[in-house]
Symmetry: C5
């Protein structure tokens, strides 16, 4: 499935899904071809009409590339990653991979699943042909900017969960399982794995004069670069916090068990003298004054006083 | 809300909040326009009169930028961060973000909340017009220097708290909760997140010949750079200390529980032989000499001697 | 044992194991000599006919080199590593070392054990002489690409095992022993040890104009470089996950022991009051109402009520 | 308080504390002005006579600078740090800060507390005027070299303490408290904080042609640089060792408590069967053979045999 | 003690310990002077005859330099480190320091203790004068190569011990004490401390055109460089493994104690109901059927059944 957004020197943008438009645009025309890949048939068309390098076409057949920026004579080939949270435990982050070919007057974007951020830009540009006339590099900026900005809600979500871990350790709530912590950890590891090459890509784009990137547009990419840097630093900081939180979480789980045992041991300790007292008067020595009422009262009193004073002592020492 | 501090070739500084002064100053005049942003209305004025780049105007609408330094043809755009401690647990550090536009003879500062360090410089310059005549880059230095210097009391505060954690582990005081340690950790993570780009910014400013920074002023920025470096190293060292202190804190909490259990177990151990002795003489064997006073005395003596010698042994072994 | 694959200007590829072909090919002919080393005899032939540097010949006698790329006037000497999982605990990864001499029209590959990835390329090239005519550097690319691609199934295997560790900690399965975790750790350490020089090698090859590497082929090596980078990042991320998983694994093993002790301690606690009650009525005081049926019933009821209410309390407190 | 050491083209060195000598020396004369700062009065003199930059003068008013090297047109400004151990727990290392102004023929050193290493060089140079005639850069080398060399006894001291920690964990001695470990940790953190900028400073000085540093003297600074590198590596290695030692220390403290509890639990276990035996024969069943001497002997024998065999079993299993 | 190996344009190598030969060789002659330092007397001779720089002579008086490479006009000064295992706990690795002066036609090696690797090269060169005629840089390569190669058996030894630690944790053997782990750790820290500057030294030597190093010989040094890199990576990997192994070792020691306590607690639990049963029938209520044989049998049966079923339950739950 593909669609083409075309903007001529004047007039509004036109959208079409005609096969004929898949190819380099004529002079004075800007073209954005968005291809949601279902099979490899359309890729052949790209290869044929645009003469894209076999390596880039092959990359578009396997959607598991690192974010990268490669310069070919006629165009830039750009791989960027967006994300979507999934419910999977082993790969909690689904990568939404976007491949872009950025030529002088055309932008070809290839992806497998619909990317909401891209969709939003597509809609916006239909109404604002002027934005496209600033050049396809600016269109590419708008798309990647939208993708990077869509990370932030995700970060807030993760930050909230890390705080939940801390809250649980501090006994304020009880929402987090160990499985959730492992999932968070995996989230951060996945994020970092993608962000660090993404950072390099936008760092290159932000430098002026790379391939078909206009100097004015490079200023905008510098902005995206700054956002990626901020996310990267955020991930590093959060990993640090989560590491500590995991340690404290494990500790608090053990500590809870130990606290229970301590209380039980305190209980045992309280019964110890009672066992001795009753054991003492359970002896069969005929010499013991078993018929002395005074002794019996003393025994009864001890059975009350001794544990009571132990409880008092334990409480004063804050052992409970 | 905005205000303008203007210094002509001679005469004292004048302060005004006239709308007309928002714009590039005439020849020979230095102008510092300080804008405490409440809505985006005034930004439009800046964009119109100064022709600031749309990206920088947009940055001023979203106060969550990384510290950065961007060179535009006519001016430098500078984002720096100050701090204020808050009582929030999840973000214990409130960032006071300052955006500066530094042109040839004007400095425009934009911020949302009042920044005490900036306020102090403003007051000082009203009286010392000569300082402004050294150039607006020097004014910018004075502001950022004041902001960076305002970090140091904060560091002392944090250092004190880290020592409190250690003191608590060592049993010297009892002021710190686990929640405080998490908060300290977050403080350091936040500090580091801001300091590392801030370091880059001042590193660039300290190099001579950047945009509108005079060579003489660059020497002063080198000083600020050195301070930021020192704070950065301090944060790294403190993270290291806090990491160890957290480990030791958790350990000492567990250890306290274990110590109590050990003492209780010692107590149990002391009663064990007593239980045996009284149990022994509680048996119903007719052959046992229940009417022997000697045996009874022996029993009574054992009930005193055995636990006493156990206590003695435990104490000598330093088991208590 | 050796074999030679030769491709002339036209016609299909010929395979031979004739001794005469071990040497530089005549003009217009491409030659791939694959040598599975059994003794050092054949190396002498290489040294003599190709005039390879004594150092590279010596390297080929000791198959324990780091991945490296060395440029000699007439040829590139390349050491790359593949892997095979073994059952050994101390070195779970067997390195399949491949030494390549890449000249203008010849490629000499030397290895000790058969390398499946190389074998596959050898078979493919027998049928596609055209690929060889693109140059021996392209043949070298095909071999190293196949070797690097053969890492991916290995990574999936390791990832699965790391998840198994987490699952076990979470109590979902019970497949992993501590010995397995140590083995995984060693796997990752070995992988990293090899990948980081391998990354440097392909980084150099991906740059244009190195020795006999054609600019077109360099584009392909850039692809291999990207794969190695991805694997490297994967290994770093997995080390991180495994480190946490090991901590949690040890913790969960300890925690299991503690949980059992807690339950046993709970059991003890339930019997404590019973011991006191029966001990109390085991005393020999004549004043105690041993013939009161009411008392006896009270004793019997306590023996049921007291432990029952303790169990109830413990359960309500979620101590079990 | 200040003093001046002056060396003319010939003749011995003269020492004076005359106010007049505070200033650039006449042609052919080398001057070392050493200023032990008590108030800021003398700094004004330096600023006036040497025309030192206000920033460097300001730095000399606040003795808490990072080690740094700044080049001003006429002189180098150099901040280096020495150390002295203190008894303070929070800052176990007192920094002895030395500020140097190194001009063509003068060296001005400013410090607050007496620095023994500097004192030693001062005394030595009084007798060896020839050394001063090699240039003031060589004098500066002598001073910094003496300061860096004075680190080594400190390192030996720290190393000894780290070994003490290990010895204690291994049960060989008992000299170290947790507070000592925290103090050691702080020592290393402080050392590192100062060494890493110091390393940069000497790295710059070791490169030829920096400001007033002669090429011949640069060779000597390279030597100091090497020493700083060695100390830096030593600190890193020691931090690593201390980290492990702290872990093991905490572990061994917990383990000691656990060992005591294990022994007590063993003791309890030994008494358990005894309690059962005596409890059994304490029952009031008339059917039990209380008058059988054989049974009584059997009971007595069990009371000896059962615990004895348990002790034997525990010992054989190495549970004690 | 010194000795000189001299090789003229033709003829075999001659060995001598004549004082006269300590000095630059005449034209066409290569000289290797090996000096086993006992006192500083001979150093003066070197300084006088070769005009070595005072700094290098001073370095030779203090054998505790970092590995380094310094270029002086006439010669290279090279410090490299070999190792020897000692039985000392605090410094398990004795560094064998070798200082070399490499001139155009002479090599001067200075060391304190005999270095076996150097000895082997010395013997070999006596028979192969041709090797010396390739240049003294080649002799220097042979010596350093032999020293670096002598590291490998040491590495195998360490690797074996790290595996022993793991085996012990896994319960397979019992050879390692905590003291051994500390010693291993120190070994690795010491190795790393020396290897990282050594790596820099050989990296420089491997680059062509450094001082008196021939381009051909640089190729050989590149080989040594690769070996050092490999050792360095090995050390990093092993540190990682040892870190985990130490954690697991401490855990397993604690876990052993806990396991014993768990078993003892299980034992206690088994006796608990017995204590209750016998306690129950030890009461003095006249209403209890003490003369009922049925009751007595029930009591006896319970005393057998109850613990047996507990043991069964514990075993089924795998609590033992």
């Amino acid at each position: 499935m593909f669609r083409v957004l075309e903007v001529g020197p004047t007039g509004p943008a036109t959208v079409s899904d005609s096969d004929d438009l898949v190819g380099p645009p004529p002079e004075g025309v800007f073209r954005w071809i968005d291809l949601q890949k279902q099979d490899d048939a359309l890729l052949g068309l790209l290869a044929e009409r645009f003469q894209f390098h076999p390596l880039t076409i092959e990359d578009c057949s396997h959607f598991d590339q690192r974010p990268k920026l490669e310069e070919y004579g006629e165009y830039l080939f750009l791989v960027t990653h967006g994300f979507r949270l999934t419910t999977s435990a082993s790969e909690p982050l689904e990568v939404l991979e976007l491949h872009s070919f950025l030529g002088e007057r055309y932008l070809v974007t290839v992806h497998v699943e619909p990317i909401p951020a891209l969709e939003a830009v597509w809609k916006r540009l239909q109404g604002e042909a002027a934005l496209v006339r600033r050049g396809v590099d600016f269109v590419s900026y708008l798309v990647t900017d939208a993708i990077v900005d869509s990370f932030f809600p995700l970060l807030d979500d993760i930050a909230g969960q890390v705080e939940d871990v801390e809250d649980q350790v501090l006994g304020r709530s009880r929402k987090i399982e160990l499985a959730d912590i492992f999932r968070l950890k995996r989230l951060l590891v996945q994020l970092r794995k993608v962000l660090s090459p993404q950072r390099d890509v936008f760092g290159l784009l932000a430098k002026r004069g790379e391939g078909w990137i206009d100097q004015r547009t490079a200023l905008y990419f510098r902005d995206v670069y700054d956002h990626v840097l901020r996310i990267h630093e955020w991930v590093e900081g959060t990993r640090d916090l989560l590491g500590n939180a995991l340690d404290a979480y494990l500790w608090s789980a053990s500590q809870r068990t130990n606290e229970i045992m301590k209380r039980l041991t305190l209980l045992s300790a309280i019964f110890l003298p009672l066992t001795f007292i009753t054991g003492f008067w359970g002896q069969n020595f005929t010499g013991l004054p078993f018929d002395s009422n005074g002794m019996m009262v003393a025994m009864l009193v001890s059975c009350a006083i001794v544990p009571a004073s132990m409880v008092y002592f334990f409480m004063r020492s804050k052992w409970f």
